[in-house]
Homo-oligomer: 421 residues x 2
């Protein structure tokens, strides 16, 4: 069989320049999140096929890379369908493995448990620009904390990290599934219609209020309801005042606890944030995943059409594994988007130390090499990045390339003068 | 389908204590290797099945986790064998993907290219204590450097890193495939028998010289040859003197270049090493991989029966992808063994900052929370690791647990006295 040079379809080789940024961002994420008390954990990239297909993953379950059973377990002759052949798959997110992990190890973990996961996930999406079939996710989750302290800490940690990467002009948008429901209920929609209504509402930023109204009416909802619904959105300001307004207006449809909690989160984040950003109440924020049970939030960036981080509360997923509901809330960064934005903006990771290259005359005697190795050792122990390479015939070109790679100091080392170095 | 709590067979959930060490070691590896001019790269975890089955991987090719083709490409009805169903697999090492990567990107990379790869690999080995089916590898490779500068830099970088982890009493053992061959040739073995002879020689440290002689004779090699062969090993000292002795003794069987190169590597490493360790010439060192073409080396640790790192020169692998041979030399750390040794020795990663926990009275008013969030922000900005948690009913037990997790300062925050904090 001929060897193939390209990576597999839809996946990517990382060149050194991108890796430099990735390594830097990963370390910054770890360092920042650890100051918030999050602890690193890791699960295998391969997960039981039963867990991956447990309806927690929505459409992602259609995109699983499945792994063939091995050895005696593989019965090719009698296999009727795909799932007769597979017992595992590559994880498509870090949330399902986290739920399994917690159910397996809760007794060995602190409560509440603040988990940090950085790892690759795989989805067999149609390949397209900027989207890959292997990509890195970076999630923080707080398990076992029912109070809004979870939301506050997650938002503060995520925004602190973005601030350290010099991102500005970003907005944390926040909403609650219970506010979504209360507004729909108040306007006269039936509970069984909520999901359909929210899918249309989710398009607000693309098609506008009028567009949403039209689509709802096209779906057969009467004008009275849709008018009341859209009017409500027009009356709500994107701040704590808006929440207070809804609390008064929606009456019994909206639990006091939800409104007070939202206000608490927003005012706490405003007061304690480590860097400059806006936090807005956004009653049109829906977020797709069906597993959310309360607060939902995302980070939007002016430079980028879309969200660069998202999360929310999912108090009922852990119970699917353990049989006992555990409060859970998480925030996931779009790591690949963040790296893409940094690369596009020409971001440079802070330099670690002097980059220095020693160019060696090919005839360098052993004593000369030993001298240069000793000099390099001293540079390296001082944290410098040191390259020792043989001099090429085209030394001028070699030096130009080294300068381009960021080498600030280039030392010629000749056979007859190394003792003067 | 019932959800499964355990990880898939042979793979491992990483608990926070182990992750703390892993994160620390990974960062130390990156920081150290970067001072030697190595650059991070990454390849996808999924590799073309053709590349994985190209005979570069030896027995590992029997242990591949294979990935099912997707969509229309999967023709279950007409599939006759496994490989009709798969087009990719999880990589079993980082060397084959590196060769593919280099063949794909050589024009975009410096020459020589010093690559650092840290990533998971997968092998469907029989599960056993301390060995897992997903494990991390950490490789440095220098591509395009024909001179011994490659070996010297690889050994210096690897040992510097081990020294920074406080490892002592380790030995770098070094040999060369050409010395192995020369000693066999000198003793009268035929070239076609070398591989068989070396497999037996490789057992020297377990069965001793007498055992090796017996096994060789059992395989049918005559006493004259085996006596000459074993006598030779008895005469060689494990240092540059031993190499010089062989250079004199073996005459034309051993190229001068090989002997001089070995001496150069050993004396340079001795002179320039960053920490204390021994470097020994070991004429019995074989290393299994058939792709090695020259120098081979490994790190042995007194505390641990076996090698914790290994590598060598493989000048003919890249050419299988590119059609043009490229000098290549690499050193791979047994990352999981290193972490296991550190855990067993009770190694603690250096603390990053004060670990402090604020325990919140459940009735804490909003002003109190804001006060505590502000205090925590200051602690965090100073690099401290800060936890804010609600006080539990059994506060004594909660505090004990926090102390056990390493929290050095625990602050009680009560509803009626938070203003005194």
């Amino acid at each position: 069989m001929a060897l193939k040079k390209k990576p597999v379809t839809g996946m990517k080789d990382m060149l050194p320049r991108e890796m430099e940024i990735r390594d830097y961002v990963i370390q910054l994420i770890k360092d920042t999140y650890k100051t918030y008390g999050f602890m690193s954990i890791e699960t295998p990239c391969v997960e039981h096929i039963e867990n991956l297909c447990s309806k927690q993953g929505g459409d992602n379950e259609k995109l699983i890379f499945k792994i063939l059973k091995r050895g005696e377990k593989l019965k090719l002759e009698s296999a009727k369908e795909e799932n007769d052949l597979v017992d595992g798959g590559l994880r498509y997110d870090l949330t399902v493995p986290l739920a399994r992990y917690y159910s397996n190890h809760a007794n060995e973990l602190p409560s509440p448990f603040k988990a940090l996961q950085i790892g690759n996930v795989w989805r067999a999406d149609r390949p397209q620009k900027g989207r890959f079939r292997q990509f890195m996710q970076c999630d923080i989750d707080i398990l076992g904390e029912a109070s809004n302290l979870a939301e506050i800490e997650l938002i503060l940690a995520t925004t602190a990290m973005l601030g350290k990467l010099d991102f500005q002009n970003f907005t944390v948008c926040i909403n609650d599934r219970n506010i979504l429901k209360a507004m729909a209920k108040y306007s006269g929609f039936k509970e069984e219609d909520y999901d359909e209504v929210f899918i249309i509402l989710d398009k607000m930023d693309k098609i506008g209020a009028q567009g949403v109204a039209s689509e709802l009416q096209e779906m057969g909802y009467d004008k009275e309801k849709t008018d009341a619904y859209l009017k409500l959105f027009g009356e709500v300001t994107p701040d704590v005042e808006g929440i207070r307004y809804l609390k008064g207006k929606l009456g019994d449809c909206l639990p006091d606890k939800t409104a007070d909690g939202m206000e608490m989160i927003i005012s706490s984040v405003e007061a304690a944030k480590e860097c400059e950003f806006k936090i807005s109440f956004d009653p049109t924020l829906v977020r797709g995943q069906s597993y959310y049970t309360g607060t939902i939030f995302e980070v939007r960036m002016d430079d980028f059409g879309g969200s660069v981080a998202g999360g929310g509360r999912y108090d009922q997923m852990i119970g699917k594994f353990t049989g006992q509901d555990t409060p859970a809330c998480g925030f996931s960064i779009g790591f690949e988007r963040i790296v893409m934005l940094l690369l596009e903006n020409g971001y440079e990771a802070p330099k670690q130390g002097l980059k220095k290259a020693y160019l060696l005359d090919k005839k360098m005697p052993r004593e000369g090499l030993l001298k240069i190795l000793a000099l390099a050792r001293a540079d390296r122990e001082a944290g410098g990045q040191v390259l020792i390479v043989n001099m090429k015939k085209n030394k001028k070109f070699q030096k130009e390339q080294l300068l381009e790679e960021g080498y600030q100091e280039i030392v010629d080392c000749f056979e007859d003068s190394y003792d003067k170095l």
